[in-house]
């Protein structure tokens, strides 16, 4: 039952918050309790994986491959843990908000529905079930985007909904073709059936559909346009949740499906992934330089980060996969930190646009540090977490002889540093505008605690990367040789 709790808890919490519709205070308390419970279950799953390796549980007791399997290996378990961590952080941060315009419209219920979708996507061992969890996430994220009822939120939502629905259709088409060609939907079962069939035309056609679908979820070039159009429009907590985890699901699915299901070495899949990654990195880094709002800059930086992770998958050497996985894990923390930081800036100055906010560094030097550290980590400055991720990827590109990609990774780092420096000088360094409104004295504790905790995590991973890289190595080995995963699913537990 353990693997079903990460679904039961968020769905149950969503229902309870709806029952507490009349009281925002009660909704907040239930919501936070649900997130803490989710984090607790995630820790339990993580401990079990650490103790005895990957394990699977079958829905309804139907044996694999006929039933729907839920599987936890290191990657899934850590992703679920990060979902719990992010959920606690954003819900705590949201408690510091003064206006409850979204919360009395059902934001907490939608947030937990999204969390359930995320956990389901990370834990499922069945590719059609993955599609279903994608839909759960999608419909919850639609609701979260428009729940504020603001004008720009509706504009962002039109683009987000329109482009994501195409990805959905591609996903189901790919799954259909794959089933037609193999007669299997269980990913561990597909692994065995596709082992020697990687280059066949129907398999490649299915792979093409799935790359499109996961790519558009991950905001990979050229299907990223929905992200910069929408990620800056919802509330800070919602955009932090989206930035930390929603694109990561796309990256996770690419990592899972194109290691476990499809053999990609030497196929056109690899070429497509590498070009998509390269162009995402460049476009994301350049786009970040053109934007003049804090979350809009950060939105483009998500695209270049996604490019870096997919790059590791595309190179597909053990070292590159370790780099991709490490990047994925630390980026959840960094992105949550940065987007919550944007919410803090908005709270303190009333705006997040260049020219309308400023002077943060002089008035709140310690608070500014809570943005500066993750921003430098994003740019890849030592000794922060992002530095080690980029170092691994640079080593991987050098070792595999992809020198153009080495150059691209380094250039992206430089451009991102430039974009972050620009953010810093415009919002923190520059003098505040003359007509700036009266400011609050500081941040409430509910907002401060998650920011401090996330920044501390970025610094801890940066100063002591050893255990985290060791975990990434274990995950990378599990992705390259999924024998333990397959055995956990297909062989009934003793």
């Amino acid at each position: 039952m353990l693997l079903f709790w990460p679904l039961v808890i968020p769905f149950g919490t969503a229902v309870l918050t709806l029952l507490a519709w009349r009281s925002v205070e009660a909704q907040r308390a239930i919501s936070l309790a649900g997130a803490v419970a989710l984090l607790g279950v995630a820790v339990a799953i993580l401990l079990r994986v650490a103790g005895s390796g990957p394990f699977a549980q079958q829905a309804g007791g139907w044996p694999a491959p006929f039933g729907i399997s839920m599987v936890a290996d290191w990657l899934s378990a850590i992703m679920v843990f990060l979902v719990g961590l992010t959920a606690v952080a954003i819900i705590l941060f949201g408690m510091g908000e003064t206006e409850a315009a979204e919360e009395d419209q059902g934001r907490h219920a939608l947030t937990h529905a999204l969390l359930a979708g995320l956990c389901g996507a990370f834990l499922t061992g069945d590719i059609f079930n993955l599609y279903v969890w994608f839909e759960v996430m999608l419909i919850a994220s639609f609701g979260l985007l428009v729940v504020s009822g603001r004008r720009e939120a509706f504009d962002g939502a039109v683009k987000y909904v329109g482009l994501n629905l195409i990805g959905t259709v591609a996903f189901i088409s790919g799954v259909g073709l794959l089933y037609g060609a193999t007669g299997a939907l269980n990913m561990a079962d597909l692994h065995g059936r596709l082992a020697s069939r990687g280059g066949e035309a129907p398999i490649l056609a299915a792979a093409a559909f799935l790359i499109f679908a996961f790519g558009s979820k991950a905001a990979l070039f050229p299907v990223f346009f929905w992200l910069p159009a929408s990620y800056h429009t919802p509330s800070a907590t919602t955009s932090a949740l989206f930035a930390a985890l929603l694109t990561k699901v796309g990256v996770y699915s690419l990592l899972r499906v194109f290691t476990l299901v499809f053999p990609i070495d030497g196929t056109p899949i690899q070429t497509v992934l590498l070009w998509g990654a390269l162009l995402s990195m460049v476009v994301g880094a350049l786009g970040a330089l053109a934007m003049t709002g804090m979350r809009r800059v950060l939105g483009f930086s998500i695209i270049s980060s996604v490019g870096l992770m997919v790059l590791g998958l595309g190179i597909a050497t053990p070292l590159a996969l370790v780099g991709a996985v490490f990047y994925l894990l630390q980026d959840v923390v960094v992105k949550a930190n940065l987007f919550l930081g944007a919410g803090a800036v908005r709270r303190l100055t009333g705006s997040e646009h260049f020219g309308r906010a400023g002077g943060l560094w002089r008035r709140w030097p310690w608070l500014s540090l809570l943005f500066l550290l993750p921003a430098l980590s994003l740019a890849g400055m030592p000794p922060l977490s992002g530095f080690w991720a980029k170092l691994l990827l640079v080593q991987a590109t050098l070792a595999s002889g992809h020198y153009l990609l080495t150059f691209a990774v380094l250039a992206t780092g430089l451009l991102t540093l430039f974009a972050m420096a620009r953010l810093w000088s415009e919002l923190f360094w520059a003098a505040p505008p003359e007509d700036a409104p009266a400011r609050p004295a500081g941040l409430p504790a509910a907002m401060l605690v998650p920011l401090v905790a996330l920044t501390a995590l970025v610094v801890i991973i940066g100063l002591n990367p050893g255990p985290f890289i060791d975990t990434a190595i274990v995950i990378g080995e599990g992705l390259l040789d999924p024998a333990a995963y397959v055995a956990a699913v297909l062989e009934p537990a003793p």
Binding site: R151, V158, L165, S173, G176
Partner: protein, 118 residues
């Protein structure tokens, strides 16, 4: 039969893509509906097509030969239900955005990404 379905799926995608490229919300959604139906037809075809053979396992046998696989049909059913829910949401969104912006042209909606970049 497969050829017929393949041509049908192709026509649906062509028509759908044409509508989606109009750049307006409502034709975009109609086009998307056509394309998702093309996807359903595609999956339907992947489960083998047979005439007049119900997939019933005869008494005493364990498997049944030469009938269509029923699983893709179950997949389509799931996809139709999910697709319907998403479509209803998207139609409501299209209506609300028309109320807010006074237009169905998606390129004319610039509240989130204003032209001057602010």
């Amino acid at each position: 039969m497969e050829v017929m379905l393949a041509v049908l799926a192709g026509l649906l995608v062509a028509g759908g893509a044409y509508l989606m490229m109009s750049g307006r919300t409502l034709p975009y959604l109609f086009g998307l509906t056509m394309i998702s139906n093309a996807a359903n037809v595609l999956i339907f075809g992947s489960g083998r097509l047979t005439f007049g053979k119900p997939p019933l396992v005869p008494d005493g046998a364990k498997t049944v030969e030469g009938v269509a696989n029923a699983l893709p049909q179950a997949l389509i059913l799931t996809a139709i239900v999910i697709g319907f829910g998403l479509l209803v949401f998207a139609l409501t969104l299209a209506w609300r955005s028309y109320e807010i912006f006074g237009t169905t042209e998606m390129d004319a909606m610039r509240a989130a990404e204003p032209e001057d970049g602010v």
